[in-house]
């Protein structure tokens, strides 16, 4: 089914692309006169005839913002330059930085209506900044230049808030197990293919390798997500739907029990032990690097990070989802990054052309490759695959996640009141691990905290 859909989408894309060039080569009424005067009087002969005679866009300056690391900056700057070359007259001013503090700065700008025209956005910003659709443009308005047919409906639905398509997703991501095969080899067992394997590995690790070795390491938030994956597998319903928590107190108690058993069965270290390791995050934890902790449950997009953290002699493998966690394919995927056009943008059409160039067109996607995860756009994906531009591990992880998970994620799942270090997830999971809460209290607190957030 899925493939069929993709083929259909690609077919459509080809038609679209064809129609666009056609549109471009035939001069439309309004464009010619109004803009030729403005464009610089350079030698028109050198420019391709398509652009010269049939410029169906206005000269303008767009502002464009994103965060990320060095390779993403470089690729994006290069792609933007290519865009400027392709559409002379459109100038793009970039602003970019590291994630740290970026959200504060963007929030301040969106709140004061001074944000750049085109922005890389986090998925939860859509609901946080624009619950009524006032911060971001409805992209259906610029469908003629931004090819939305490249995206499957489910992912577009995740970016639809207040009935408007407020952003176009760059990639999807979900959680998956990664194993360090070297440690499992040392213990004389294969990497877990099922929950039963994992529980058994806990016992074997303790017996053969010693108390310090664990087959899986989970922080507070990891525990929360794994619990949701577990519950969705067991009960076959999404965690939250229509702003309602779908699980009862008893069901959640089962989920928490599952997490507690993992700790008791020496599958995963206690939170106290983990904090005592004194690492900022798992990829900086020496016990992950040297194989003492032999597994993690992480985003597919961070596979590269955890892989490269491993010392020589360790072996990183992408795990399988467990068939025996329940009778359903539980778990969720979410939009990892998206692009949005600000409502304040003066040239939405040209902004959409920029997005289309970066996300769908061959030239742009070749440069951008998998800088923002495995591209979701069908055209971009096939282009990157054909040219071998994807990181193999990340592509494998992403493929497995998208094939397995079946539930959408409620945007409020990630709201700060729940997810931040002073939020309810941390409190419940660490309280349970520290023995401050019993299962019942923990479940009550969790339900209460989530309902409070949903009611907001």
């Amino acid at each position: 089914m899925k493939y069929l859909k993709k083929f259909a989408a690609m077919g459509l894309a080809v038609v679209m692309a064809a129609s666009m060039t056609a549109c471009g080569s035939t001069p439309t009424e309004s464009t010619g006169e109004s803009r030729t005067a403005v464009s610089e009087p350079q030698t028109p002969a050198t420019e391709s005839t398509v652009q010269d005679s049939g410029k169906d866009y206005e000269d303008c300056t767009l502002t464009f913002s994103w965060w990320g690391g060095e390779s993403r900056h470089e690729a994006t700057i290069e792609a933007v330059r290519a865009f400027e070359e392709k559409y002379p007259g459109i100038k793009v001013e970039n602003t970019y930085g590291a994630w740290s503090g970026w959200e504060d700065s963007m929030a301040t700008m969106f709140a004061t209506q001074t944000a750049p025209d085109v922005n890389q956005v986090n998925w939860n910003w859509l609901t946080a900044y624009s619950a009524d659709g006032s911060a971001f443009l409805d992209l259906h308005q610029v469908e003629d230049v931004l090819d939305l047919t490249q995206y499957d409906e489910a992912s577009l639905a995740q970016c639809t808030v207040a009935g408007e398509l407020q952003a176009v997703p760059a990639s999807m991501t979900g959680r998956i197990f990664y194993w360090n095969k070297a440690t499992f080899d040392k213990a004389g067992i294969a990497v877990p293919m099922s929950l039963a394997d994992l529980m058994d590995a806990g016992r074997v690790f303790k017996e053969k390798l010693g108390d310090d070795y664990y087959p899986l390491v989970l922080g507070e938030y990891d525990r929360m997500i794994l619990m949701v994956y577990y519950l969705e597998s067991a009960y076959g319903k999404p965690w939250v739907e229509d702003n309602q928590l779908q699980y009862t107190q008893e069901e959640i108690e089962k989920g928490l029990e599952f997490i507690r058993v993992l700790e008791e069965a020496h599958v995963t270290p206690s939170i106290k032990k983990l904090l005592g390791d004194g690492a900022d995050s798992l990829d900086k934890n020496p016990k992950w690097m040297n194989g003492t902790y032999a597994g993690i449950f992480e985003w597919d997009s961070s596979a590269g990070k955890f892989n490269s953290a491993l010392e020589d002699g360790q072996e990183f493998v992408v795990g399988e989802f467990f068939q025996d966690m329940g009778q359903y394919q539980g778990g969720y995927s979410k939009v990892s990054l998206a692009f949005a056009i600000s409502e304040t943008c003066q040239h939405p059409r040209e902004a959409a052309m920029l997005l289309n160039f970066l996300l769908n067109e061959e030239e742009g996607t070749t440069i951008m490759a998998s800088e923002r995860g495995v591209p979701l756009s069908a055209a971009a994906l096939s282009n990157c695959q054909a040219k071998g531009l994807l990181n193999e591990t990340v592509a494998e992880a992403n493929g497995k996640v998208l094939q397995w998970v079946s539930y959408p994620l409620d945007p409020k799942f990630e709201s700060a009141a729940l997810k931040s270090t002073d939020g309810v997830y941390y409190d419940v999971m660490s309280g349970l691990s520290y023995g401050e809460y019993d299962i019942r209290t923990a479940a009550e607190l969790l339900v209460e905290g989530i309902n409070e957030e949903l009611a907001r």
């Binding site: 690391g69 060095e70 900056h73 020496p286 590269g304 490269s308 990892s336």
Partner: protein, 293 residues
Amino acid sequence: MEKTRGKRLSGRARRRLSVVLRYAVLISVGVVMVYPLLWMAGATFKENSEIFSGINFIPKNPTLSGYQNAMKDYGGDINIWKSMLNTYSYVIPKVVFTLFSATITAYGFSRFKFFGRNFLFAVLMSTLFLPQVVLNVPQFILFTKLGWVDSRLYLPLIVPTLFATDTYFVFMLIQFMRNVPRELEEAAKIDGCNVVQTLVKVVAPMLMSALVSCALFQFMWSSNDYMGPLLYVKTPANYPAAIFVKLSMDADTGFEWNRVLATSLISIIPSLVVFFLAQDQFVDGIAAGGVKG
């Protein structure tokens, strides 16, 4: 110093012991203080995977890749040197303006009685206490209205210092001024100095060591400030070092620690040098002003 008469030998031994003790304390505390910098310097030559494996600062397989990458240029927009130049192009005006405005304000508060002084002093002090986080948004609105956001001249960062908005320094100078005996000023007045001359010729020299500390702190804090430039500087070509250092960091895909540490290390060198040079002023203090006694 040579006034130990009776028990000369034991006195000398005691003095020697006390010197040894002092150095022992100085060195052992010194190691604790310097170690992070040593580790950081060592880590810039390490491979990324080695950085978190321990607290030994000597790299196993030294590499220069951290430094090579630190020299990278982002599309010709910005590099480490340019960003440092940017930093000091607003830090230095900030330091100068702060010294002037804070001295003047402190002088006004500590030496004159005027209507509403106590109330205004309370207002001044209270501006120390409200956390910056909640002021960010209203301040941003204000600077947006003034059209100063992303100004090439870093107006939102510099202009407020013209008006002694860094209360910390005003309060510091007030406290130091209150320790300067008034007699000197009375004498200057009798000699025919007006208030401005008194401030410049008598009070300021007495405050030299305090002024140097102010300059030093403003220099270092402004160079380190991250949130201010992040909010008000949007064009990459104008980014200061504090932002440049973080440019290569990506929480999603991980990043090159040796490079981040190398850029941080390069960017704090001016602060280290400035401190090393400025500290003579603490030593000489009043003597430099030549008003001693």
